[in-house]
């Protein structure tokens, strides 16, 4: 799947969640998403960026503009080298949280995108990749 453009956003502190929202919004507009689709991917990115910072001890978001045939999409990978998630299925369950959040981040983000992939190894880190197609 050809990648035509890439950008990396560092996720270190809570203010980086605001930065990543702004970058994702700009990209979503460039891809030509409708306002609703822009809102969905920006919201999903906001949830996942917060997870990377709060639970993964920081990391990065890698944005990629991808094409498949004639369709274009926005793919974003959130990567950290944090403690990892022992039970991914449990983490995906709505209202399950180990922090003080609402427990909607992972499951909610999954519902807002077309493709969602999570891989995590305890002690090594977590990688969540989301894709939204135009």
């Amino acid at each position: 799947m050809p990648v035509t453009r890439t950008e990396v956003v560092e996720l270190r502190s809570a203010s980086d969640v605001v930065s990543v929202r702004q970058v994702v919004r700009t990209w979503a507009i460039d891809v030509g998403f409708t306002l609703v689709d822009q809102t969905k991917i920006v919201t999903a990115a906001s949830e996942l960026a917060r997870n990377t910072i709060d639970y993964g001890r920081g990391g990065l978001a890698r944005l990629e503009l991808i094409t498949e045939g004639t369709r274009r999409g926005l793919r974003i990978a959130f990567e950290d080298q944090g403690p990892g998630i022992p039970d991914v299925q449990q983490a995906l369950t709505d209202h399950y949280t180990t922090g003080n959040g609402l427990g909607l981040g992972l499951g909610g983000a999954k519902r807002l995108v077309n493709e969602f992939d999570i891989s995590s190894r305890v002690g090594e880190g977590t990688r969540v990749v989301i894709t939204r197609w135009k």
């Binding site: 809570a14 203010s15 822009q38 809102t39 949830e47 909607l104 807002l112």
Partner: protein, 132 residues
């Protein structure tokens, strides 16, 4: 440093969130708003989110917290002006904002707040209007 102004309109407080919320600002707003409710004896809080282009679970939790704190201080909270794209996204995200009432705009939110506490407290307010 950013600050979210809190305006007093008779016995209501109006908060217009116009900046991209980050954690510190959200916590500061909770503190200031509860202090203002206590100081003014406000019976209602209107939170205008018409400028917010997303509401994620963090902002949603902050709004729900404000509503809970306000309720304990005998004030009701109405969230007004949610953009349609934000509403669609919130539902898919799974955020339900329990205990938070909503209205389409500030006018309707004010009408809702002025109708409810006045009736509950059995006070007569000559300016109170019912929502159309």
């Amino acid at each position: 440093m950013d600050r979210i102004p809190i305006l007093r309109l008779r016995d209501l407080l109006l908060v217009t969130i116009q900046v991209d919320m980050h954690d510190r600002l959200a916590m500061q707003l909770q503190d200031e708003l509860t202090t203002r409710i206590s100081e003014t004896g406000a019976r209602g809080v209107l939170i205008d989110i018409s400028s917010l282009d997303i509401v994620d679970s963090f902002i949603g939790r902050m709004i729900a917290n404000i509503a809970s704190m306000a309720r304990v201080l005998d004030a009701q909270t109405v969230v007004v002006g949610m953009q349609p794209a934000v509403a669609i996204t919130l539902v898919e995200l799974g955020l339900t904002l329990p205990g938070v009432r909503t209205a389409l705009n500030v006018d309707k939110g004010m009408a809702l707040l002025q109708a409810a506490p006045a009736a509950a407290a059995d006070q007569h307010d000559p300016d109170a209007r019912h929502p159309d």
